[in-house]
Symmetry: C2
Subunit: 116 residues, 2 copies
Amino acid sequence: MAAKKAYCDCIETIKPVRDALDVINGKWKLPIIISVGVGNDRFTDIQESIPGITPKVLAKELKDLEQHRLVVRTVIDGYPVKITYQLAQYADTLTPIIYSLKNWGLNHRKKVTDRA
Amino acid sequence: MAAKKAYCDCIETIKPVRDALDVINGKWKLPIIISVGVGNDRFTDIQESIPGITPKVLAKELKDLEQHRLVVRTVIDGYPVKITYQLAQYADTLTPIIYSLKNWGLNHRKKVTDRA
DNA sequence: TATAGTGCTTTCCCAAAGGAAAGTGGAATA
DNA sequence: TATTCCACTTTCCTTTGGGAAAGCACTATA
């Protein structure tokens, strides 16, 4: 017999949501993906396009995103060496998440300012 | 004349996304919303439905969610006093976010296990 | 020759997140 | 009377995130 439980079961939703959150956690991952996705492919450009981000954090987050195969780092030989960042195709699958967050954020801001 | 900028502009997407992330930040907010949304309305039930959450964290996150008007705490007088939590209607607007995260998480887990 | 840009790294530091464990006060239950 | 349940709170501690500032190796530009 299964153990009785008073609470309603929701692990089947919570588990995948947490899997997703583990990948895109923190303040910076989605902003970086947005910035790279829009065409910023140089370290400095990405940095300047995201207000407040420091090079240390950007470097670390880019490495994380590479490991998760969402971003591809390319070294182009030549003088000087060029380094570019691009979204991996897999990052396209994040579009619905970004889209829904953007919409919600826009609506939320309106709601909060209306309140005041 | 506007200052020249080499980078592509993406603040209009980044800003609302960050507004949204500021509200649902951390490991626990969305799991809690999912749990309450599915019918868990007592503190202990919510706690037991979310693996790994401690009462301290749950109490703090519930307060945050109340402040953001996503969750409503109700005290029902009587002997003993009963306390229930429910989603505010506003929390329904999070459904697309949760849905897209869930889908992405499911797909991501498949992708990662296939890789191995 | 001096300065600026590129893509970072390094150090130092602080605050927030979060885990473990115990406790609390009242009421219900055995 | 003892134990349990409920909804937390409290304390202590560790980890993580992240900011500030400086530096570095290389190249390009003035």
